[in-house]
Amino acid sequence: MQLSRDVLLRAYRQMKVIREFEERLHTEIMTGEIAGFTHLYCGQEAVAVGVCEHLDSVDKIISTHRGHGHCIAKGCDVPTMMKEIWGSSEGTCKGKGGSMHIADLDHGMLGANGIVGGGAPIAVGAAMAAKIDGKGKVSIAFSGDGACNQGTTFEAMNMAVVTKAPCIFVFENNHYSEHTGFDYAVGTNLDIASRAEAFGMKVWRGNGVDFFSVHETMREVLEYVRAGNGPAAVEFDTERFFGHFEGDPQRYRGEGELDRIRDERDCLKIFREKVTQAKLLEGADLDAVDADVMSLIEASVEGARAAPRPTAEDVLTDVYISY
């Protein structure tokens, strides 16, 4: 399906925002200014954007510990996210969640999630709500090849099938669950989609470093699920450019692996090549987006640095019960 110039520019911009957000965090974390654990999404941008570009704010997604990309793709405000990662009281979660817990319910973003496999059951509930409302809304459970081994994910897939909930299980196979290879940890012969299929779902597979593959695959998946056929699953083969967490020495990587995937499997490069070769966009169009994104990221970091800090009194707010 031919995408319009506006759609292409928007998709590229979203991917570029995620990329530069993460690259900048990688640099900033070295300075020690950012506290805690941070897991970067770099390399997987085509998946988040290729999926979320099809969604409305009433559709729900739930994310993972590697959630910045999903948040941005679903419409969370980038400067406010940056403030959250800095721990500011003006952050998305007022500095109480941090990198692993950014949520924005107004945009249908039900939270990044620090527990691997924690999200899929929640997505099924969101899909049940969508089914009750009967307006063709869906929910998306983003999971990695790590979460595909959690029993919670199995329970969620079966529950979605049994209840015919409009839930889409998007498995982003980046070949590493934390520091362990996919070859070792996933028993189903290098294939996650077949596992979902065994639960009784229709499944798709796509190239997770190619925006066009993801976008076209998701168009089919969404058409199927929005039509009331129950859940579906899709596996995208993708790449993780950084370690499991920032500071991970990545001794498990092969010789030249990181250079090779950056060179051959970079979804932004692939996008640029495809649209310029097909003359859908000019290189200058993309350069202009790049410049715009760089200033957004710069402004976001400056804003986060200058943003107000929470105080000790804030520890006791936003609780269910005061003690």
């Binding site: 979660c93 929640i122 509930g125 709500a129 009750i132 079966n158 269910y320």
Partner: protein
């Protein structure tokens, strides 16, 4: 006023709340029962008879019969709650929180706080708890101490049909996650239930017996045990305050402290295991905030710190009893 069983009070309240608010939905294992069988839907109607007839009235979208998948049940309740519904999830046995604890402890209990106050999670998790049926270590436990230790959960333990109605209605209308513990041995007990839109606010204990000599703090099934002891001792001129906590989170500290300041003697009677428990919590509260009122060391009447045993002799020996409670009152009065 109507006279009804505790289990009928549960069912009637759910029915009325589902009728009142279309966002209220229910989910759990066998809450419909008979799905996919020759007997057909509602062949069972919930093993505790607390959901009988709901499926026929409200349909499969709002009365969701689930596979045996406790993580997915509570997780789905979370997703429903974050999406504007008011789910009531049923865990067939409270013990099964072990299977679903991540969704309770790491997810629903933390949403509001870790999302900076911007989310609501109006979910109720109902569960049948408690011993007395020789149901052995994995189907007999009292889990309220464990749940009370988790910030972000409200923990409710009704002891009468009237409290079921008032507290369950409050739970369903609450915007935060509520753990609602129903004692198996109470389901068939009867009592008067107020008519109309009766609600009971959380964090307000109920003084069920009044006396000057000893404060007995308790909840759930143990409330009746303590009342029987208080009534017996009253005939000897020994006066006991019996405080039914109703909710262990929030905890009505004021009710406990006010009573102990008069009696000077605290006994906590509870069915959960003793270490790091609601009983040690209340003893610590009194030691911290009413120390100068105490005339004797506080006493806890609880099971030993073991799993709940199976055999009749063992389970009877394990559980608090009216004899043990009476002995505790006499012991605390005899101190010095």
């Amino acid at each position: 006023m109507a006279n009804m069983m505790y289990r009928e009070a549960v069912l009637r309240t759910i029915f009325e709340e589902m009728e009142r608010d279309e966002n209220v939905v229910m989910l759990g294992e066998d809450i419909v029962g008979g799905m996919g069988t020759a007997g057909g839907p509602e062949a069972i109607g919930g093993i505790w008879s607390t959901s009988t007839g709901l499926f026929g009235k409200f349909g499969a979208n709002r009365v969701i019969d689930t596979p045996i998948s406790e993580s997915a049940i509570i997780g789905a309740a979370n997703g429903l709650a974050l999406s504007g519904k008011r789910p009531i999830a049923e865990l067939m046995f409270a013990d099964f929180i072990g299977v679903s604890l991540d969704q309770i402890w790491n997810q629903m209990g933390k949403f509001r706080y870790m999302f900076g106050g911007k989310s609501k999670c109006p979910a109720v998790v109902r569960m049948a708890y408690g011993a007395g049926f020789n149901a052995a270590p994995q189907h007999s436990q009292s889990v309220h101490s464990l749940l009370t230790s988790m910030p972000g959960l409200k923990v409710v333990i009704p002891s009468t049909p009237a409290d079921v109605v008032g507290l369950l209605r409050t739970a369903i209308r609450d915007d935060d996650p509520v753990m609602f513990l129903e004692h198996k041995a109470l389901y068939a007990t009867k009592g008067e239930v107020p008519d109309g839109d009766y609600t009971i606010p959380f964090g307000h204990a109920r003084l069920t017996r009044a006396g000057q000599d000893v404060t007995i703090v308790t909840c759930g099934l143990m409330v009746g045990f303590c009342e029987r002891v208080a009534d017996k001792l009253a005939k000897e001129g020994i006066g006991c305050d019996v405080i039914d906590l109703r909710t262990t989170s929030p905890l009505d500290e004021e009710a406990i402290l006010d009573s102990v300041e008069v009696t000077g003697r605290l006994i906590v009677v509870d069915e959960s295991t003793p270490r790091c428990s609601i009983a040690t919590d209340i003893v610590a509260l009194v030691a911290e905030k009413a120390y100068s009122s105490l005339k004797a060391p506080s006493v806890m009447v609880m099971p030993p710190h073991t799993p709940v045993p199976f055999a009749r002799e063992l389970e009877s020996a394990y559980l608090p009893s009216t004899d043990k409670i009476e002995a505790a009152v006499r012991k605390i009065l005899a101190w010095r």
